[in-house]
């Protein structure tokens, strides 16, 4: 008798059967090759599972066969919409291992570039998040501004997307003459553009009804899931590595950490918008106080760090990106482990989605802001 009860599909309002729906890996709104297996009752999600690994390249293993300089470009391809931030994490990790002091000027320029990259990443997030919810035009506006940032990168670094911005010990080149002026121009334009996005979305009834109360995550849950970045701060936890363990030159700058209250999709949206404004102010401070001097420390051509291990992490646009490096004294790392923020934040998807509709799952994937290059590594 017991078993018969168990075999019967879970009872629903109309005694209908549950349906299993495969969302992805080829799906317009899974932001890459994420496969989400949804169990649906009507359109309500009752269970959910993520299938990842479609983009696995084995970066951590590759690193064991490459010299320290050769590994940096692989970091560009982790979170490929925030390559500069990734570079900073790895490069600072190796510098920590080598115990190299990076010149002040290089540190300030690194901060400026990383914050520009944070804005670019948040712009891409905003555009894709909005397009998932149906507001198509925001994406194009975001790309318009992102293009300006990418142009600045192109002239400074030589590449737009996978930038390979930093070298171990500093920067390859000093800033080109017009760099400061161009960034200042961008800083002047950007606040009005952020206002423009907010006009489109902030008080839009449809936007509110699609984001308020969707994917609510309590502060406790967020901490227990070890989430970081805006997803954590949206739940009201004031944790930002830039303040908690200042790296590069962040200790010199004055900025706020925006936090949400309710931990829903709308709060995370507001958080990121506020973060963009904070980034603008950080860039301005970095450019105003830009010290003179060299941009490259004295680093040997062949890097052979002393035997030891370090963990270094920075606040990437998506959360805490960390590197754990073990050196055995040779020119290649014995082990390199990446702490990918997207991968860990993605674990919150199930908790956030159950009980919502299919349409909300799309919004929640958007709000977590994942990049599959980083999730699968």
């Amino acid at each position: 008798m017991q078993s018969q009860e168990a075999i019967k599909p879970h009872e629903t309002l109309l005694d209908a059967e549950e349906m299993v729906l495969n969302m992805g890996p080829q799906h317009p709104s899974t932001h890459g090759v994420l496969r989400v297996i949804l169990k649906l009752d009507g359109e309500t999600v009752t269970d959910l599972d993520c299938d990842i690994g479609y983009l696995h390249r084995g970066v951590e293993k590759i690193a064991e066969h490459d010299t320290y300089q050769m590994i940096t470009p692989y970091w560009d391809r982790l979170d490929y919409v925030a390559a500069v931030s990734n570079d900073l994490c790895y490069v600072e990790g190796v510098e920590k291992l080598l115990q190299v002091e990076v010149p002040r000027r290089a540190q300030y320029l690194r901060v400026a570039l990383t914050e520009l990259q944070r804005i670019a990443s948040h712009l891409l997030w905003l555009g894709t998040h909005a397009i998932d919810i149906g507001a198509v035009t925001v994406l194009l506006y975001c790309f318009r501004e992102r293009e300006e940032i990418l142009k600045i990168f192109e002239d400074f670094i030589g590449a737009r997307l996978t930038a390979h911005a930093f070298r171990i010990g500093g920067l390859q080149w000093d800033a080109y003459p017009e760099f400061v002026d161009r960034v200042k121009e961008f800083l002047k334009m950007m606040p009005t553009r952020i206002d423009e996005y907010e006009t489109l979305l902030n008080s839009n009834r449809i936007w509110l009804s699609r984001t308020v109360g969707i994917g609510v995550l309590s502060a406790e849950d967020a901490i227990n899931l070890s989430l970081t970045g805006p997803v954590l701060r949206g739940s009201g936890v004031k944790y930002d590595i830039r303040k908690a363990q200042p790296y590069a030159a962040y200790a010199d700058f004055d900025f706020e950490i925006p936090v949400g209250e309710n931990g829903d999709t709308y709060d995370r949206y507001l958080c990121r918008m506020a973060e963009m404004r904070q980034s603008l102010s950080i860039i301005e401070q970095a450019l105003d106080g830009l010290p003179e001097g060299p941009v490259m420390a004295k680093v040997p051509k062949i890097i052979k760090p002393p035997v030891g291990e370090i963990y270094h992490s920075i606040e990437a646009p998506k959360g805490e990106i960390g590197v754990y490096l073990v050196s055995d004294g040779t020119g290649k790392p014995y082990r390199m482990r990446i702490r990918p923020p997207s991968y860990i934040n993605l674990q919150a998807l199930k908790k956030m989605s159950i009980g919502h509709l299919v349409a909300d799952v799309v919004a929640i994937i958007g709000t977590i802001d994942i990049v599959l290059g980083e999730v699968d590594r």
Binding site: Q2, S29, R210, V358, A359
Partner: protein, 454 residues
């Protein structure tokens, strides 16, 4: 060149009639019922299908300009030949039918959708006189009846594709279109009370006789109609059936090539049709202040201008649809249903009741039986008898109906629905869902406990 063209265009209908009736003077059957309608049908179909192709172009251009882009620019000057290139491409594409699909129904579905959309064009009053193909006396009813057949096409498409995304899309679209059709049907009744006819041309004539577009009498009706029309034609913010980010492409996920183009065509034709009804009912159709001056002197020019005016009004409305689509996010499925059932349908019903009250109060026969404090308002003559039908008097009546519509009906219904819907939030889907999950969790726990006990 232009002169020749316009002469040809304006003289053509007369010429056809004269040519066909010259020899068989007594029998006008062929000219009146076969040849001339056939010409009209071919012309209308040709124009509409071209228009549909160019609406796609327009949509792309409008969206591009709103999004700081250029849109199609490569094929022809300013990309003007893009629709032709697209059409050709779609025709030449491989015709794919999924192996697991129900072949016959799969092939039938787009035909049903497009035919339902095209048949309606017969009774749309494109213009005065020969500008209309068929002046059916139940024109509006015909349009509503036939256009609701389109749902069948979508449902069949979703079902026969044998794909989950298609099925979900079809489920959504059928529920959505059926719900919004009710609101749409209710919203137009108010305007029909003033028009006293279901004939599309009759409604336009009634607005000419009353001297006012019914939008001014029926602001609430117009609002409800336009919102429902967006829902009915699956346009943003109600474009859930084809919500790209959720369901890939909804009911036509598995379609490609020309079958897909048929669905596309049906969608844009439906857009034209719903806009045409809105224009006919609320925005005076082909009429325009001052247009009747040339009605007697040059009838063909009059008809030609009326067609141009009608087309302009329709295009303005379609532009508004596009504007909405490229500005707003999309509603969620349950929110869409809530708007349909909790707002649009009650608002449509309330609009009927309110309109009826204002109408009855204005009737001359009501005057005698009214209490004293209401009689004050009825010192004016709001309605007058014109050849057997009551119409609002030129200024007192018009001002009375406009004022009651804008100042009383709209705010009152709004306030009423807001109050009711706030109360009804206690019973909304969300709580039901939560309760359902709670119950299920408890049941699962009980089962687990029982298993553990074993």
């Amino acid at each position: 060149m232009t002169a020749i063209l316009s002469t040809l265009l304006l003289v053509a209908p007369q010429w056809v009639r004269e040519y066909l009736t010259k020899e068989k003077q007594p029998n006008v059957f062929w000219s009146e019922y076969i040849v001339w309608p056939l010409i009209q049908i071919i012309v209308v179909l040709f124009i509409i299908l071209t228009l549909v192709a160019y609406l796609v172009y327009l949509e792309r251009k409008v969206s591009a300009f709103m999004q700081a882009r250029l849109g199609p620019m490569r094929v022809g000057p300013w990309g003007l030949l893009q629709p032709a290139a697209d059409g050709l491409k779609l025709l030449l594409k491989e015709d794919i039918i999924p192996i697991k699909a129900d072949k016959a129904i799969f092939q039938l579905a787009p035909i049903i959708a497009v035919v339902a959309a095209l048949v309606v064009l017969a009774v749309v009053p494109w213009g005065a006189g020969w500008g209309t193909i068929a002046n059916v006396n139940i024109g509006l009813l015909f349009i509503l009846a036939v256009s609701s057949v389109a749902v069948l096409g979508l449902v069949l498409a979703g079902w026969s594709s044998n794909s989950k995304y298609s099925l979900l899309g079809a489920l959504r679209s059928s529920a959505q279109m059926l719900s919004y059709e009710i609101g749409m049907g209710l919203s137009i009744i108010g305007a029909l009370m003033f028009a006293r006819t279901l004939s599309m041309n009759g409604i336009v004539e009634a607005q000419r006789a009353d001297g006012v577009w019914y939008f001014f009498f029926q602001p609430l009706g117009f609002l409800v109609y336009v919102i429902c029309a967006l829902g009915e034609t699956n346009r943003a913010p109600f474009d859930l059936p084809e919500a790209e980010s959720e369901l890939v492409a909804g009911y036509h996920t598995e379609y490609s090539g020309f079958r897909w183009a048929l669905f596309f065509m049906a969608e844009y034709t439906a857009m034209i049709v719903t806009s045409s009804i809105a224009v006919t009912l609320y925005l005076g159709g082909w009429s325009f202040p001052g247009l009747s001056l040339i009605e007697k002197s040059s009838p063909n020019l009059f008809v030609f201008l009326s067609i141009v005016i009608f087309a302009t009004k329709v295009m303005v409305l379609i532009y508004a649809f596009m504007w909405i689509r490229w500005t707003w996010p999309r509603y969620r499925y349950d929110q869409l249903m809530e708007i349909g059932w909790k707002w649009m349908i009650p608002a449509g019903l309330a609009n009927i009741v309110m309109t009826a009250i204002w109408y009855v109060l204005a009737l001359p026969s009501t005057k005698a039986s009214l209490p004293d404090f209401l009689k004050f308002f009825l010192r004016f003559n709001f309605m007058k008898d014109v050849s057997g039908r009551l119409v609002p008097t030129q200024w007192a009546g018009v001002i009375y109906f406009v004022a009651t519509g804008f100042l009383i009906t709209v705010p009152m219904v709004w306030a009423l629905l807001a109050a009711i819907n706030r109360r009804s939030n206690d019973f909304n889907l969300d709580e039901q869902r939560q309760l359902q999950f709670k119950l299920r969790r408890e049941r699962l726990k009980k089962m687990e406990n029982a298993e553990a006990a074993e």
